[in-house]
Amino acid sequence: MSHWLPRTYLALVYLLLYVPIAVLVVFSFNDSRTGYEWGGLSLRWYEALFDNRAMVRAMWNSLWLALSAATVSTLIGALTALALHRYRFRGKQILNGMLFVVMMSPEIVLAISLLALFLLVGMQLGYVSLLLAHVTFCLPFVVITVMARLSGFDERLPEAARDLGASDFVMTRTVLIPVIMPALLAGWLLGFTLSLDDVVVSTFVSGPTYEILPLRIYSMVRVGLKPEVNALGTLLLVFSLVMLILSQWILLRSRR
């Protein structure tokens, strides 16, 4: 009797979370034009999706943006984490805290301030403005992921490498980077997914020349929910799941 209530409550919560997603996946294979009746199994919405040239271009744009944003933020983030970890300098705590401010502040605030900045310097809104914005919000996540790995890093390893004849540069290449590689990959994946599904910041800083997927979807659903969107949602869901599993697998493997 006493188990009945909490279990029902939990089931309800999970149903609310997962039923819409399940419905979306199921209806993406629905051969009916309307979203509330079952017309048999079909892949027609997937075909329609890939026939839509604007949609495919937005998809490629998004992928390219996510790739470049993740790569740039991993490069900068890794160097930042190394500096914060390795050196003691004035203002280190402030710099560290500022990363958290970017992470915690509402996205809309970041979006508005970035837009204001781009307008102020007269930058054309498009790929570059999107890239800068995405790197900005991905950066703290990369830094924190890499710093976590570095905190467990044996300080004697660089010394051992130097002792055996490696210069600082060679030591970094042969010891430091290989050891923190899992964190770099995890940080990159995190940045990639964050960039791929960002709507708020992108809405503000994108221009007509460079349309990206989340914004394309948003404008599609404004004029009515087309079944194509279900197909697209399913593809994104599968893609995110694969990325999630991949990043967890990398982290687990490195933690032997």
Binding site: D154, R156, L157, E159, A160, A161, R162, D163, L164, G165, A166, S167, V170, T174, V175, P178, V179, M181, R256
Partner: protein, 372 residues
């Protein structure tokens, strides 16, 4: 014949305004096994890190066979280090770990393979070349660390408490193995430890350090039998300190000292003595003789603790004035008097000539004797 290889001159080092080493001089001989011994914080690890080049001295110089190394980067010093927690590269196999230093020297592949195999054979790990460090036991990791450091044939091998993470039995085995390696390779070893037993059993010479100052430099025997001061006497082994005072000086050879009312004649110490001067009479537990209560010799006391140690019988005896005496006697099964009961009255004496005299030191002794 003892040729100086590594010469340290007035080395000083401070961290955050705190002096760790204070104008330290030390000559390390070619081919010797030198141990830096001291409690934690005495500066022994800092001294080793200065030699390796991980730290830079605030003042002073380091020369190796006439070549000034004071400001040379660690990668350009012909010295290699075995780290306390081994610091093996976790992402490389045992082979690649050992090969790392040779790859840095850009040696031909074939030579690298051969030398790595030799080094692994030397530490009996030939069959583990393909393993990763985390697949090895602590003792095996330790041996990889040693192989990795000696494969470069350094002039000096620096070892920073390399055995402290191993259990007692393995530590003893590794001590023997390190000694063997040192003999076979003929490399100078500088070994850091806080374990005085380890220092005594392995070294040619021991440097006793405290607060960044050398307390004594000598062979293990000198350090143990003729400690230079109270700190060394306390730190190295267990010691009974008996209060005495000079009763009379008998010419240049001997003095008579009053200990617990006994008038004993001792060799004259190196430091100047005058009549009535208080001094410490040091006796190691194994120098003490426990006699029957009706014996004419010795001071009366009573047994308060007995520890059977297998080859020896260790007792704690309280004298009438409360002084605690540690005695360690070898078994003599034929001696019926050997087996005392707790609380039994006995008399304590020692063999004349085995004592060691030290003058009173100015400062009050606040540190407790270090346990063995």
């Amino acid at each position: 014949m003892n040729q100086t290889l590594l010469s340290l001159r007035s080395l000083s080092k401070q961290f955050d305004g705190k002096s760790i080493l204070d104008s330290l001089d030390l000559d390390i001989y070619d081919g010797e096994f030198l141990t830096l011994l001291g409690p934690s914080g005495c500066g022994k690890t800092t001294l080793l890190r200065l030699m390796a080049g991980f730290e830079h001295p605030d003042a002073g110089s380091i020369t190796l066979a006439g070549q000034d190394l004071t400001h040379t980067a660690p990668e350009h010093r012909p010295l290699n280090t075995v780290f306390q927690n081994y610091a093996l590269f976790p992402h490389m196999t045992v082979f690649d770990n050992v090969a790392y230093g040779l790859k840095m020297e850009k040696r031909p592949k074939e030579e690298i393979r051969q030398r790595v195999e030799e080094a692994l054979a030397m530490v009996q790990l030939e069959d583990f070349a393909g393993r990763k460090p985390h697949q090895l036991s602590g003792g095996q990791q330790q041996r990889v660390a040693i192989a990795r450091a000696v494969v470069k044939r350094p002039k000096v091998l620096l070892l920073d408490e390399p055995l402290s993470a191993l259990d007692y039995k393995l530590r003893r085995t590794m001590q023997v193995e390190l000694k063997r390696l040192q003999r076979e390779l003929g490399i100078t070893f500088v070994f850091v430890t806080h374990d005085q037993e380890e220092a005594l059993s392995m070294s040619d010479r021991v440097v006793v350090l405290k607060d960044g100052l050398i307390q004594q430099l000598g062979t293990p025997r000198e350090v143990y039998e003729r400690p230079a001061n109270l700190f060394t006497a306390r730190f190295v082994g267990e010691t009974n300190f008996f209060p005495g005072h000079v009763d009379r000086a008998n010419g240049d050879e001997t003095i008579t000292v009053d200990v617990f009312g006994l008038k004993r004649t001792f060799r004259k110490p190196d430091f100047p003595v005058s009549e009535g001067q208080p001094l410490h009479v040091l006796l190691r537990p194994e120098d003490i003789r426990v006699l029957a209560p009706d014996d004419a010799d010795g001071v009366p006391g009573k047994v308060v603790e007995r520890n059977y140690k297998g080859s020896t019988l260790d007792s704690v005896i309280h004298l009438a004035d409360g002084t605690e005496v540690l005695a360690s006697e070898f078994f003599d099964e034929d001696d019926p008097a050997f087996d005392y009961r707790l609380g039994e009255p006995v008399r304590v004496s020692w063999v004349d000539g085995w004592e060691w005299l030290l003058p009173q030191e100015g400062e009050p002794e606040q540190e407790a004797a270090t346990d063995a």
